[in-house]
């Protein structure tokens, strides 16, 4: 088990050493987002912006205009919806080299309630021209994604959850991770489950159980939601004939929508289902209970898969 947030903090330090033009901003949540690790190591390149996210994003763009690689972090809910206009104008429209790294995405934030459970961020960022949208699944992948964000030019958004996640990828696997390329985690011929971020782990657990019951599910870790790996989606549709998407996000506008758009435009009529938050605000509660109630755990993945196969 490792928290992707820690992975982010550690990677920032490493990248900070490598790139003297890398700077980090946070909006009074550095202890939670783990940017505090960078702040301690490189205090002169860390800017505490206080509880003023709009100012943080536009300031990030100003720094980027002077050749800085800028990481700006806060919770997903404040990193996107609250500052949509700043991201739109100063980051996306201006093609600024700003990397918005958001933590606490999705409903598994838990007890803070729907005010803090961001389920629209991927949709909001996906719709912006020039924006790359990422949702890494475990600590190893997060480290690699953060590195790729720093070392590829352009506006990018990444979100991770709050909780610890079992290690899915061994370190040596890191080098094969590329932006815009989905990962086939497990092969299978009966159905494809395409998931991202916090949902990849329960999908893997579900796949193991399904296997014992004779269902061969292929698992795709679609860490890059935009640009979407359309070729992989089409390949899976052709080869398995059924697709489920799973994300800790609204079923509207996120990974599920992106996959559906691809399939529809390629005239692919496959059995298809989106798992995600079904156009409701959720509530306070233990993450486990929330994921059960809102249909996003291993049990629900198994149920949906069986219904669709």
């Amino acid at each position: 088990m490792k928290n992707p947030r820690n992975s982010y903090g550690e990677k920032l330090i490493e990248l900070g050493k490598k790139h003297s033009n890398l700077v980090v901003l946070d909006a009074d949540l550095s202890k939670s987002t783990k940017t505090i690790m960078f702040a301690k190591k490189y205090p002169e390149r860390f800017f505490e912006m206080g509880i003023a996210e709009a100012n943080m994003i536009s300031t990030a763009a100003g720094l980027a205009s002077c050749g800085k690689i800028v990481f700006a972090s806060t919770f997903a809910v404040f990193a996107t919806g609250r500052v949509y206009d700043q991201i739109r104008m100063d980051v996306a429209y201006s093609q600024a080299n700003v990397k918005i790294f958001a933590t606490h995405g999705g409903i598994s934030v838990g007890k803070d309630g729907a005010s803090h459970q961001m389920i629209e961020d991927i949709a909001l960022m996906r719709v912006l021209p020039n924006m790359t949208v990422l949702a890494p699944s475990d600590a190893t992948q997060t480290a690699k994604i953060v590195e790729l964000m720093a070392e590829n030019y352009g506006p990018m958004y990444a979100r991770v959850g709050r909780a610890n996640v079992p290690i899915i990828y061994e370190k040596e696997y890191m080098e094969s991770i590329e932006l815009g390329k989905g990962i086939i985690v497990e092969d299978g011929a009966d159905i494809t489950i395409i998931s991202c971020g916090t949902m990849v782990d329960p999908v893997i657990d579900a796949q193991k159980r399904l296997k014992k019951q004779g269902i061969q599910a292929r698992i795709i870790d679609m860490h890059t939601i935009k640009p979407l790996d359309k070729n992989l989606v089409i390949k899976c549709a052709k080869e398995t004939g059924a697709i489920i998407t799973a994300e800790e996000h609204s079923i509207i506008g996120g990974l599920g929508s992106a996959v559906a758009e691809t399939l529809a435009e390629e005239n692919f009529s496959v059995k298809f289902r989106r798992m995600g938050i079904k156009d409701v605000f959720c509530e306070s509660g233990d993450p486990k209970d929330l994921l059960e109630k809102y249909g996003l755990n291993e049990k629900h993945i198994i149920k949906n898969t069986k219904e669709l196969v």
């Binding site: 700077v23 002169e44 390149r45 800017f47 912006m49 206080g50 003023a52 709009a54 100012n55 994003i57 536009s58 300031t59 990030a60 763009a61 100003g62 720094l63 980027a64 205009s65 002077c66 050749g67 800085k68 206009d85 700043q86 739109r88 104008m89 100063d90 429209y93 201006s94 093609q95």
Partner: protein, 285 residues
């Protein structure tokens, strides 16, 4: 205080008239745009580009350049006119303002136009962006200055005050902001729409060095810039007492010309007035 010879001031005033004519022509040609706020802001912009800033039109991305950020992006014609006359692009481009496949968008875009630092048009962002540029300058030990122009109505935006606090907190004395204090915004007088006074007290209380001047007086503008540049430890703001629509009699203090271009008759009348002013200035040279 610095002494400027009369010739320098006269030249700047002539340039300002020339750019006022560009503004009127551009907006007449584009059949849309914002005359009022362009005409009120133009004198300070001219002072920056033609006398005060360290910049080179041939090297728009020079790392040591002073930066100007037009936070009130709707005054783009004033900036475009100044950039064209400075040599960032051809004066001929001005007639294509707001046309399809054209360099000059309705509001400034950094990707499209040489010399544009920030994409603006949605109000309230520019000062934050300037803060980022100023922080980068400090990190890189660069001497450059960052200038940013806000509208008075624009400071209704909450983000301005986040940025004001931030610039003060980080002691960004390499920033000089302007407020184009023309007292008018779309829905009417700024004090009736959303009271701003006392602007001086507000910025003072945020820790800024506040300078108030006549925003159409070149000597006062240059003196204020000199004072602001030499003020240390806190950012400076120059409150420009201006007249919306300045230079065209029937546009002055007339909110109907905030976002409406002149018709043919108004265009001819405006150009006539500006021509007369230009001749007067040329005669006194």
């Amino acid at each position: 205080m610095k002494n400027y010879d009369e010739n320098t001031i006269n030249k700047l005033e002539l340039t300002a008239v020339k750019i006022r004519k560009h503004i009127v022509e551009m907006l007449y040609g584009a059949e849309s745009g914002h005359p009022g706020g362009s005409l009120s802001a133009v004198d300070a912009i001219v002072a920056l580009y033609f006398a005060h800033m360290n910049h080179n039109p041939k090297k728009p991305n020079d790392q040591n350049r002073d930066r100007f950020i037009l936070s009130k992006g709707h005054a783009a014609p004033a900036l475009y006119g100044s950039l064209a006359e400075s040599g960032y692009f051809s004066v001929n481009e001005l007639k294509n303002l707001r046309n399809i496949n054209c360099l000059l968008q309705g509001h400034p875009v950094c990707l499209y136009t040489p010399g544009i630092e920030a994409s603006t048009g949605s109000l309230g962002h520019g000062l934050s962006f300037a803060n980022g540029v100023a922080l980068a300058g400090r990190l890189d030990k660069k001497e450059y200055k960052v200038y940013v122009m806000m509208g008075d109505g624009e400071t209704d935006e909450g983000q301005i005050w986040e940025a004001a606090a931030s610039a003060s907190h980080y002691k960004l004395d390499n920033i000089t902001a302007f407020i184009d204090r023309n007292f008018l915004q779309i829905d009417g007088n700024t004090e009736e729409v959303m009271r701003l006074e006392s602007i001086r007290d507000r910025w003072n209380s945020f820790g800024w060095n506040v300078i108030e001047i006549n925003g159409h007086d070149m000597v006062q503008i240059l003196d204020a810039l000199y004072e602001a540049d030499n003020h240390k430890k806190t950012p400076s703001i120059i409150i420009l007492d201006t007249i919306k629509g300045k230079g065209v009699s029937f546009m002055e203090n007339n909110i109907d010309f905030h976002g409406v271009p002149p018709n043919e008759m108004e265009y001819n009348l405006a150009m006539e007035e500006l021509d007369t002013l230009q001749k007067k200035l040329e005669a006194s040279n």
